[in-house]
């Protein structure tokens, strides 16, 4: 608000000002009628505009009024220029000389309202305000000097930070080009190994195909036999239960057999019996073979002590478990090796794919998962004890295994480089400020503690809040962007997409950065719900002190 015009006028006439100050105070209090003086509320620099010998022209040029109407406590000019020393105009302004401190304009609504606003008290003329200008001026000068010292020291550090940043970017950029070369090289090797693997797998696959065909045939035969055996068993049972040979099983035919006493109370009740007849009164042979047998069978097996259901309500055992001998008693299933092999192939097809196409997905896998993918699965130990393939096939598998393993090794090297490159690009894409001056903050975290919480700011990463009395860490936002005003966006950081508030928005934090000789969070508040405000000081925000106004120039 203070007019720059006035500041320039006063530069260099510092010593004469205090005298004028006293003079002006006297005028304010006692000599409104003295026509040769500057009107109240007008700076010396504008005195020429208020010539008591002439009519007064409103400064917007709209009106000419007798000079006696200037400062007569009635607003005549639309621009308020006729009442510089009263509260009469809603848009007027009053000049406080404030000798010993900074001259300022105040809005005319503060003139004569009973509150001392100017440090020289010149705007209150119904009572005497204390003159605090010397005291305030001294404090302001000290503060300004402190600010310059701070700026000097801070700016020096800023240059250092900036140098660190530039070096960092340079070394990272060099590292990137090195890695890009490495990556190209690794990709060539990987592709070569992939080709060799594919070549080795073709004869292996053909050999195994033959084994698979024979196995399928055997299995089909087994299944056929099994089905037949089961049907025969069911028919035997039907004949047994259908005691009157009428081709139907009835409730009473069921009730004579203790086997069906489900609740073990010694009686096969109507309910118990009809359960086995699908809740009907009777059941045909056809239905029995289709479903009744499945219900009844576990009870027969239980009776024989051959079956114990895992849950009382489990009444549908798998059909192939009917014969005790087929329950998992053998050390290996005949086709288990091949099944493993298929699993491996599927894994590779679905999860590995072409690593160069999905580097991000791989980055997110845990170490364990990564290892699992990187290492081809070991053949089951049982396999070695009991070789199933002829020598020639075994050799083909051996060659293919080696090719696979070599490919995976090459692929891992390629992916590791790709991941590193990705990380490097992520860093190099961050805007660390003009001159790279915010770079040293990257990778650091700064805590601020208040009564209830510890706040942590990790620049270019995230902002967090942790309750001191327990409760987990709450993410207040992830690094978003520089969000200062257009002409200086590096004054403010935005961290957004934080943890959502209950029934509210995702948390966000704005970091307001000011010059300081260290990097520190100085205050945290939550002005609106879930919107946090961090004050952060850093040398990287210090301006060149040469661009700052020297404190004495302000006075």
């Amino acid at each position: 608000m203070a007019g720059s015009q006035f500041r320039q006028v006063n530069t260099g006439i510092w010593h004469s000002l205090s005298l004028i100050g006293i003079f002006a105070v006297l005028f304010n209090r006692f000599s409104i009628s003295a026509k040769d003086l500057t009107p109240r509320g007008v700076p010396l620099s504008r005195a020429a505009l208020y010539d008591a010998e002439k009519d007064f022209a409103c400064l917007d040029g709209t009106k000419l009024i007798p000079f006696s109407l200037v400062n007569d406590d009635y607003c005549d000019c639309a621009d308020g220029s006729d009442e510089p020393g009263t509260s009469a105009c809603p848009n007027g302004r009053f000049f406080c000389l404030n000798a010993g401190h900074k001259s300022i304009y105040i809005v005319s609504s503060r003139v004569n309202d009973g509150i001392c606003d100017c440090c020289d008290g010149s705007e209150e003329f119904d009572f005497a305000c204390p003159n605090t200008c010397d005291e305030m001026g001294r404090a302001a000068r000290e503060e300004a000097e402190r600010a310059v010292r701070l700026a000097k020291e801070g700016f020096q550090k800023r240059l250092e930070m900036s140098q660190v940043g530039k070096t960092y970017r340079q070394s990272k950029t060099e590292e990137r080009s090195r890695l890009e070369t490495d990556r190209q090289h690794a990709e060539v090797i990987k592709d070569e190994k992939q080709m060799l693997r594919d070549e080795a797998e073709t004869p292996e696959k053909a050999a195994l195909e033959e084994y698979r065909r024979l196995e399928d045939e055997r299995k089909q035969k087994d299944d056929q036999e099994e089905k037949q055996r089961s049907e025969e068993e069911a028919e035997d049972m039907f004949r047994l239960l259908d005691s009157n040979d009428d081709g139907k099983i009835t409730v009473s035919e069921i009730q004579v057999r203790q086997t069906f006493d489900r609740n073990k109370d010694g009686i096969v009740s109507d309910e118990e019996a009809s359960f086995f007849l699908n809740l009907e009164a009777e059941m045909s042979k056809e239905d029995f073979l289709k479903s009744g047998w499945l219900l009844a069978k576990p009870y027969f097996l239980m009776e024989k002590g051959m079956f114990s259901p895992p849950e009382p309500e489990h009444m549908m055992p798998e059909p192939e478990h009917t014969v005790p001998e087929t329950v998992h008693t053998e050390p290996t299933e005949p086709n288990s090796q091949e099944a493993e092999y298929h699993d491996f192939e599927d894994d590779e097809a679905e999860d590995l794919g072409d690593p160069s196409e999905k580097p991000l997905e791989h980055k997110e896998l845990s170490d364990d998962e990564q290892d699992e993918l990187d290492t081809p699965k070991e053949e089951p130990a049982a396999e070695e004890q009991k070789p199933k393939y002829d020598e020639q096939t075994m050799e083909l598998i051996g060659i293919a295994d080696k090719a696979r393993s070599e490919f995976h090794e090459a692929d891992k090297v390629f992916r590791d480089i790709s991941n590193k490159l990705q990380e490097l690009n992520d860093v190099l894409n961050v805007d660390f400020g003009d001159d790279e001056r915010f770079t040293p903050l990257h990778g650091q975290c700064f805590d601020f503690e208040d009564r209830e919480y510890v706040y942590t700011l990790c620049p270019f990463k995230d902002a967090n809040q942790r309750g001191k009395n327990g409760g987990g860490v709450v993410n207040l936002g992830k690094w978003g962007s520089w969000s200062g005003p257009e002409d200086n966006k590096y004054l403010q950081m935005l961290y957004d997409r934080g943890q959502s508030c209950w029934n509210g928005p995702a948390r966000s934090a704005r970091i307001f950065i000011k010059c300081g000789i260290e990097n520190r969070v100085t205050a945290v508040s939550e002005p609106s719900r879930c919107e946090y405000h961090f004050d952060f000081i850093s040398p990287s925000a210090c301006q060149n002190p040469d661009s700052l106004v020297h404190p004495h120039d302000e006075l």
Partner: protein, 506 residues
């Protein structure tokens, strides 16, 4: 989370007196919330006093009732017991209410009483109050009894010298003697803005006249347009307050951008300009019960068209307001009863009937009734208390006969000296036969003031006066300047308001 009334959070408000002082140094006041539920915490003086002196509401077995409210487990003071009311009132003494000053006033919230875990969120109906009355019998009176006691406390703390200010959510017949009321927890939507008018009209007609609604709506976030229109409407209602739920976004007048800050400032200034008129209306309210905010039919009982109108209202009998309460409105339709009406801000003249006018962001449709004189203060100040010495601008709106009447009431704005010592001024303004007169009704009033007449604005003058002559005891006869036609503005008459004066137009 302490929520212990009459105490300060020593971390958040370590220096309350200094904090209050920072506000009052600029002429402002402060209000804290003091509710009727008392935290059941041993060592909290209020709870221990209440237990020891038997001040709590009890259940039918005589056991102190416990409910759940802001502080958690709470008991409720039985304000029906004179002993409780006296105790409560005594706690407002400055030496008892530590960290308080005479500039600190009180808001009694949650005083229905609100009980989070109670039936219908209040106290069970069979709780027992003083004299054996069950809660069911006296529920509606509970808040009134608390406010009565709070009021008494404020009176006593200044030795009955200063007027209390109490805001209450619960209300009952007679509450107008003690404090102001707002319409409770409304929402940030246009419907609730509209509803604020009939709600306050209803309360006003019921005698509870110091009424307002939370500007912008208590729940949810208003956009810039809604909060602007809400300010414009609310500033023509008796009680004005921007208030919101703790989880809403900031909504101070300056957070919606420069454009809206300027528009809201413009609306707020219109309120401050009219404070002398509002003050005079509340003086009349105290004397006769006439509500400052009133439905049209209050002043036009013969005009049946006015009966259902609830989107516009009167402020006193001289101003008619139809605030913009529609989103995106570019025009407003309103009804004007019998007589001539002048747009209070652009002076356009209207007659009885239905009208539609265009509105922009800054428009508040307000009309001055022909035949009225309204006292205003046009100087801008940071707080109403800083306007005390400022001069008056009178708006004289002529009727068909070229006549108008009005009045002005002035006192010190804070004490009871107006009652005890007659320290006030009641001034009657009259315009008749080209003469505008001011007459002090209570001559020889001991009330002294330096306030003066800065400007007289005449609306509806049918001729341009060739000369203007003013006179008062201390100024004698003076020649005055005037300019314009409609309005015709008489420049700086300069009369003291404490003297009779007259202006003759030739």
């Amino acid at each position: 989370m302490a929520k212990k009334y009459f105490t300060w959070d020593s971390h958040k408000f370590p220096h309350s007196i200094e904090m209050i002082g920072n506000l009052t140094a600029k002429g402002r006041k402060m209000i804290t919330i003091i509710d009727p539920h008392i935290k059941r915490e041993s060592g909290y003086f209020l709870h221990e006093d209440a237990l020891r002196e038997d001040l709590y509401v009890k259940d039918k077995h005589g056991k102190v009732y416990e409910g759940w409210c802001w502080p958690g487990s709470s008991s409720y003071l039985d304000f029906f017991d004179p002993k409780t009311r006296n105790y409560w009132a005594s706690r407002f003494a400055l030496d008892k209410y530590e960290g308080s000053t005479l500039d600190l006033y009180t808001w009694n919230d949650m005083n229905e009483p609100s009980v989070f875990n109670g039936p219908e969120v209040t106290m069970p109906k069979d709780m027992v109050h003083f004299g054996g009355w069950e809660h069911r019998d006296v529920h509606n009176l509970y808040g009134l009894m608390q406010v009565m006691s709070t009021f008494q406390g404020h009176l006593l703390r200044s030795d009955k010298r200063l007027r209390p200010f109490i805001l209450s959510r619960a209300n009952f017949v007679g509450m107008q003697r003690y404090g102001a009321v707002w319409t409770g927890d409304n929402m940030a939507n246009w419907g609730h803005l509209k509803a604020s008018i009939p709600m306050c009209l209803g309360l006003s007609i019921a005698g509870i006249t110091h009424c307002g609604a939370d500007i912008g709506g208590f729940f949810h976030d208003p956009d810039a347009e809604l909060i602007l229109r809400w300010y414009q409407a609310a500033l023509f209602q008796p009680f004005v307050r921007n208030h919101a739920h703790i989880e809403t976004k900031r909504r101070e007048p300056w957070v919606f951008g420069d454009k809206y800050t300027a528009l809201i400032r413009s609306a707020v200034r219109r309120r401050y300009a009219l404070l002398p008129y509002w003050y005079t209306l509340f003086y009349q309210n105290e004397k006769t019960g006439a509500p400052p905010m009133r439905p049209l039919w209050y002043d036009f009982p013969e005009d049946t068209t006015t009966f259902p109108i609830q989107d516009q209202h009167l402020v006193g009998s001289a101003l008619l307001v139809h605030p913009v309460t529609d989103q995106g409105a570019s025009s407003v339709s309103f009804y004007l009863p019998e007589g001539i009406w002048y747009d209070f801000y652009n002076y356009k003249t209207y007659v009885n009937g239905h009208h539609t006018i265009p509105v922009d962001d800054d428009t508040i449709p307000v009309f001055q009734r022909g035949g009225s004189i309204i006292p205003t203060k046009q100087r801008i100040r940071r707080a109403s208390s800083l306007m005390r010495k400022d001069p008056y601008t009178l708006f004289v709106a002529l009727d068909q006969k070229g006549e108008a009447n009005g009045s002005l009431y002035i006192d010190d704005g804070e004490s009871y000296e107006y009652r005890k010592e007659g320290k006030f001024l009641e001034i009657i303004f009259q315009c008749k036969g080209n003469v505008i007169k001011a007459k002090v009704v209570n001559v020889n009033s001991p009330f002294q003031t330096v306030e003066w007449i800065e400007r007289v604005v005449i609306l509806g003058l049918t001729y341009k006066p060739s000369s203007i002559e003013g006179s008062s005891k201390s100024l004698g006869s003076v020649k005055l300047e005037g300019e314009g036609e409609h309005p015709f503005v008489i420049r700086k008459p300069g009369f003291l308001v404490s003297e009779d004066w007259e202006i003759k137009l030739h």
